[in-house]
Every structure is written in structure tokens, then in C-alpha cells.
Amino acid sequence: MLSSNDVLLELVRVQKSFLDGETSSGARRTILGGIDLEVHAGALMAIVGASGAGKSTLLSVMSGLDVVFDGEVRLNGRAIKAMSDDERARLRNEAFGFVFQSFHLLEHLTVAQNVALPLWLVKRSAKSSKRATDDETDRIREVLDRVGLGDVSPSASVRRLSGGERQRVAMARAIVHRPHILFADEPTGNLDDATSALVISVLDDLRRRGSAPSDRGTHGDGGTHGDRGKHADRSKDADRGALGDGGMHGDRGALGDGGMHGDRGAPGEHSVRCAVVVATHDPRLARRCDRVLRLEKGRLEEVAGDALRDALAD
């Protein structure tokens, strides 16, 4: 049985609207119309939808970058909105990872320095800081290797990298601190097909193996394939309509079948069960996800089968 702790992030009736700048009447345009959602440990979830549907906004709300909304977003049961600014900053630094569509690398830093940024921002005591420094170089090399940049010099300037390489540096930065949830906003949006395929495989690998480089080898492919099967079943179950409370419980039940436990590795072994949430309109990426949710007119619907095909064709 999966315990309730496996629900990492929970959205409860999240609503958000903007003043519509295109009308002079001062009308508000609803972007998120009462979203309920649970993100479980080890999930690979895609949010699809047309441009301007609110995918990036939803990711911002989920990640605590945007706290101007109605409803609640809870991380491990605690409302993010109720946290202080510093607490949310710590959350972003320790629990979350971000991959932005435009990479958002610091151009004046090297590859290694960009990847190390989340580690640099962690508040540590002097003693643990020394230990961390010793560990840091190995860790950076591992994540770079994992995103396929093993042959790129860590001391190279990110300015010299191609778009695909930059996106993979951004991904390395997003997982170097072993987050619990990785948010990726159109991670393949600016990339050519070959690079997109590479990024997708990295995300898939991340979902399968967790965010911790040290987890390598502790997760069997069989286990994760099993996961996918379970999730496919769950998607079908949820295809009934918008995710309500019942739907979420149903999700939990599907996950509770234990597929994700395979990801966690042997009991007592250090492991990070990383959930991945991507906002995308890339069909190849969406197809690799356990769950695909379509955001349209402020509502979030789980799609699968033909509906998924149609949604991705849009």
C-alpha cells in the first residue's frame, strides 16, 4: 500500500484569473478554474494545452513561484501560500527543480557553475559546507554525465553551447540538488528533433531512476515499465472527466498498486523519488508520460487513448 505520504503535492480548487487587457470592460479571464490535482512521488506528468491556456501559470502556482491565486497548494500537507517568502525560497532550493523553456542559464558562469547554483544557495554550516564542497565536483560530473554532457568541459562557458546543450545544462542544474519534484516548462520547445529526443530520454530516465545520481543502478527498468502500465490503466480510469476528489483517490489507488515502490530501490537505501511535471505541446514527450492532463478554459482533464491523440494533434 502506498501511504498518504506519497502525495507530494496537492492542488485544491486552485483558481486564478487575470484582468483581460484586450477588453476595456475590466473583465477577468480565468486561467485556472478550480483545479484539483495530486502529484505523487515518482510520477511523470504532462500538462498539455494550446498556447496561452495557462500551462506555465499552473506550473508557477504548483512550484510556489506564483502565490497569487485562490485555493490551496499543499506540499506534504502544508500550504505553500502560508509559508513565508524565505520558506518558499528554501522550498524552491531544496524540494523543487526547474527547467525553463528559455533555459535561463547565467551567461557569465561556466557549465559547472550554472549546475552548482542550487548547491551554492543551500544554507549550510561551515563544517558541512566543506564536506559539500568536496562532494560537489563529483556530483556535478555525475549529473552532467547523466544528461549526456559528459564530454563537455565543466569549465566551458555556457555561451559556447548549442541550444540542446544549454537545455541539458539547465536540466542538470534542476536535478543536481536531488529535488522531489521537477517542473519543466516546454523543455523541448526551443529544440530541434534530435535534441528534443535526447531531452525526453533524460526526463524519462529521471522519472525511472529518480533525481539522485547515486540512485543509478538501484532501479530496474522492469519496475518502471510496470509503473507505466499501471499509469496507463489509471489514465483510462481517469478519462471519465475532470479530476475530482474521487478521481484523485482513484489515482492514489492506482499508484498504491506499488509500481513506484520499484523505483525506490531497496529499503534503507538512499533514494529520491522524483516526480516530474512538464508543461508541453510536444507529442513525443507527452506520450512518454504516465499521465497527460489537458488544460483548456481553466479546466484540467486527464486524456488518454484517442482523446490523447486528438489533444496532441491540436
Binding site: 513561484l65 506564483d66 525560497a89 551554492w120 544557495l121
Partner: protein, 465 residues
Amino acid sequence: MRFAMLLRTELRRSWRRLLVVSMAVVASVSTLTVLGGLGLGVYSGVVEPLLPRLPLRLLKIEPRAVSIGPIAFDVASLGGGLDDRALERLRALKGVDAVYPIVAASFPMRAVGGEGFIGRRIQTDVFATGLSSELVHDDVSAGYTFDDVDAEGRVPVLVARRLLELYNTTVAPAIDKPRLSSEALIGFEFELVLGASVARAAQTGDPMVRHVARIVGLSDHANLVGITIPEKTLRRWNRWWAETRRGETQRAETRRAETRRAEASRAEASRAERPRASERDDDPLSGAFVRIEDEALVGEVSAAIERAGFRMDETPKLLGVAVNVGLIVSGLFLFVVIGLAVLTIAQAFFLLLRERRFDFAILRALGARRKDVRALVVSEAAVVGALGAVGGATLGVGLLLGLEAWFFAKLPRLPVQLDHVVSLSPGLLIGAVGFGFMASSLGAVVPAMMATREAPLDVLRGSSG
């Protein structure tokens, strides 16, 4: 937070902009150092030696005089004169604690000696004044007294501190003799011949008495153009001179009376006036020191003294005004320079942080707290400020040394001894460096706060759409 790593990369990245900030700090700190060093140096090296070092609550009163061009006439008869009765009027003024007369000698006096210093015996007329031992008590060197002629018949003498400086800067170089220290001067003895003058021929019946004088201290209260001896000694000598002269005059008059009987009665009437004057003990006064009860009353008492018809020695006041005007002008200039520097620093940081707002948004999205970003910016400013301040202070010291070298090379010989015209006190340098550091750090605070005010998402959305 691996702050140092981040700070290092940011400093390396923005060095051009930070160089502008650094230059502003260098300019302001060097200006502060130069103006401060020059101001302090001129004050301690030039103004202070010129100014008598009198306590603030001690005023010097002079007889009122009417001047026509460079020629001044005493106007004692007009009410501004100083005599013992005038001193009583001064003592009666509210806020006056004590009045010390400066008694002038009513007879000529000659000093003889100097072999020990200049190798040959010289004699010169001297102008002597008498001061209360209470007033100059602190100026008398240890082991000496300034009360009256001592048991061995030696007269204690004080000389003006500035007189020694004048000797050292003008006389000593002219006669190719070494400068004198105050220690060397104390205990120096010379002969005083009362009633004798090099310039004025002695008249019949003039008495003449020799005394040994000994310098017992240097004083800012002492007569600048002569010697200062105890008041009671000089008053006694004045009485001796008057009485002796009166006796001689009486004898001469008697002799003339025998031959000019008709005029004798008129002469006798005239003589009858003099003893009365002497009995009043009216010694000639060249001024007085007025000690005020409280420094806060200086202005009030000064005004009362002037209203009562007395004139104060305004040299210190004029010098003080000149110094104050100089300080105010320097201060205003400094204020403008510092203000411009702070504005430049703040503006440079505004521009710098404006360019980096996107980077700060990324840092915050990745988990940096607002205070982390603010600390990063202020630390950058502090590093730049510290470097700029040290550079500015170094430049300032160089400029000051150059200025002093130029000043001494170009300056004609002055009647005062100038050891320095600039001051490089550690306090000034520490203050200047501290100012640069603080100005730069504080100049970055507001821009840093503004830089973290924006929500990171708003900034990032601006780029990612």
C-alpha cells in the same frame, strides 16, 4: 549559501561597471583625504602656532585706541583706557570670574647677555610686562617659581612661545646658529638693567639697578615683544622708578627754586599732584586678561565688555573666523563631492542591477532569498568600496605629500616655524577609508532593495512569454 563563489563570479562579471563605482569611491576618498589632511595640517601646522593657545574662557582686553591709518592713539581719556579703576569695572561685570592686569613697565629696561647662545655678549632694550603668577601658573617649568625676585635676587621671566618660534625661524638661520628648544631656554640667565636704555640717553638723576633674570617658562600669555615678569615685581619697580624720579626732581626743583623764587610756588603745586597719582598705585596697563565663569557666557561677556568701552584683542577672533570660513568652504566643497560620489555610486548600482534583474530573478527562482540577493549586492559594493577606499586614500596621501613638497619648495621664509602643512593622521586615513566603504555599501542598499522587490516570476515571464 556558497556566498564567496557567487560573489566572486559576480565581481568578475561586472568588473567594468564596478570599476565606475570604484572610481567614484577613489575620487571621493582621495578628495576627503586631501581636504581633510590639508585642513588639519594647516590648522595644526600654521594656524595653531599663530594663535595664542588661550583657553576659550580667557579674553584679552586692550586699551581702546583711535587709529588713523597705521598710527594708533590711546584714548584713555575717552573712557576706553585701562587702569586699576577700569579693572574694577571689568570685575563687576556679570559672568566675569577674575581679571588679571597686564602691567606695563614705566621705565626703560635693557637686557644684556647671550654669550651662551650666540657666542657674544649683546645688549638690547626690552619691553617688560607684569602678569599675575596665578594666571601663568601652568606655564612655569617644574622646579621654578614665578612669584617675585627669589632669595638670590634673580627675577623669574616668562617669554612668549611664539617668540621662540620667531627666533628659530628668522634669527637663528640669519646668524647661523642652531635652533633652540624650549628645554634649552629654560634656566637661561641674563642681566636686566632697570632704568637703562640703548636707544634713549639716560637723563640726569635716572636711577639704574642691575638684576639677574632667569627664564622659567614659555607662555602664550607672555608679552610677544619682550619679557614677562611677576606683576608684583613690576609694580614695585614702577613705584621705585616713580619715587626715585620724584625725589631727584624734587631736589632739582629746590635748587632751581633758590634762583627762580617766583616760579617755585607754581612748580611746587605741580609736584604736589604726582604723589597723589603714585598713591593711587596707577601703574600703566597694556591690557588685561578676563577670565569668564563659563565658556557658555563668552559671547555675552564679550558684548558687555565692548559695551563698557573696552576693546578685545581680536587677532584670535579674526584668525578663528578665517579658520571657520575656511572650514565651512572646505566642508561645503567636501559635501558636494561626497554627495556626487554617493549619487554616482547609487546610479551606477541602479544601472548595474537593472541589467542584472533577470539574473537575480533566476537566482530567486532557484531558491535564493531576497536577503541573499541583497547581501550579494551589498557585499559586491563593500568589496568595491573597500578597494576604492584604499586606492583613494593611497592617492590622497600621495597628493598630500606632493602638495607639501611643492608648498615648502615654493613658500618664502615665514616668521613662524612650519613643520608641516598637511596632516596624515591615522584617524583621518581610517575615517576616509571607512567613509568610502560605507558610502559604497550604503549606496547599494536602495538599489539592492529595489532589485529584489520584483517577483522573480514577473521578471522571468518578461523574457519567456
